[in-house]
Symmetry: C2
Subunit: 213 residues, 2 copies
């Protein structure tokens, strides 16, 4: 007889280990904590999971997370609705909002173009972005979409990875057909970064992107 955890705990470990970056051992440690140290947390976590799964959905316009149909950013009349920023995932919206450097509206792709991982444009919200742009260009935007007109600028803020660059290039092509002005966020050495420790590619990018002061 091979020795094992009780069935319901094994099941919990199995479910926990399906989470990203949680392996079998971490899952066992979490399950132990939940079942032997903090049963109230197990119960409250379960109910918050159910509640969040019931209530959280994607914004019909920008695909950010929301509990209403449209998210708080799309319905905020104070935002600049002529500036559109395209990001990979909701956490990127947060990072940009924390920076305070952008006051426009967003479109969240929920992925990037990554053929190696089997992620084509159709697995992301790229198609929705294109139809959003094309409708805005024709003045046929969905009611309540903050993007009622063609944006004066579309900022491509996908990550500085091969996939992020490829996605940006693809979207830039689409936008140029619609005559939308497109920019890409700068790549270079990070604030506080030491040139000595920067990799060659980053240094080259920071040289290419140099600006007059």
């Amino acid at each position: 007889m091979s020795f094992r955890y009780p069935p319901s705990m094994r099941h919990l470990i199995n479910e926990l280990s399906k989470l990203p970056s949680i392996g079998e051992k971490s899952a066992a440690r979490l399950a132990y904590h939940l079942l032997a140290k903090d049963i109230p947390l197990a119960r409250s976590l379960a109910s918050s999971l159910v509640e969040a799964a019931e209530n959280t959905k994607l914004c019909v316009h920008c695909f950010f997370l929301t509990e209403a149909d449209a998210c708080s950013l799309c319905t905020d009349g104070q935002r600049d609705r002529h500036s559109l920023c395209v990001v990979e995932k909701p956490a990127d919206v947060f990072a940009l909002e924390r920076s305070g450097g952008f006051r426009g509206v967003y479109h969240v792709l929920h992925g990037v173009w990554s053929p190696l991982k089997g992620m084509g444009p159709e697995q992301t919200k790229m198609g929705q972005l294109m139809s959003r742009l094309s409708r805005a260009s024709k003045g046929e935007a969905q009611q309540d979409d903050p993007l009622q007109e063609k944006p004066s600028e579309m900022i491509l803020a996908t990550g500085a990875t091969v996939e992020g660059d490829a996605t940006a290039l693809y979207l830039a092509n689409v936008a140029s057909e619609l005559e939308i002005s497109v920019t890409r966020i700068a790549q270079g050495i990070p604030k506080g970064g030491d040139l000595e420790y920067a990799d060659e590619l980053t240094l080259n990018l920071s040289l290419e992107g140099r600006r007059k002061i």
Copy 2:
């Protein structure tokens, strides 16, 4: 207005970040995965949490995890009931069972003596171990406890940490009063370990613990 996730997602992030070794950012990443990528997993995780919280309890004898009153190790008549191994946590039982080197019964402390972390003997199952030993010595063991008699050997398999050592020392004193033979698992360089990379303390311990071959 400071910008935030929708309320139910924020609540989920909050609950997730109460788990050991899950910070705010990991919690947000997990919540995003559960709510935007894999809602079925959110639901099945919730139900497995509830199910496991309902069904899992600690063995009345050894405090290992079980769904019955006594665990599968305590009820297994094939185990050597004169050999008792004391460990810190259920995962240690697994590690020992995987090693195959021990065929006796266990006592899980669920903690160690750690004054700095506010863990005294009363926060662990040390008291239960002592009364278990004393009852077994007097022939007054609980019905069905595999430890019906004083064990011929008690192996202290707490971790090789300051707290693990202190706990072992404390238990060794208790056991000596009951005239129970006590051993401590060996500390030294691990199998496959290179002396060059071993720390001084481990090397000293491996020298102290040297044996004739």
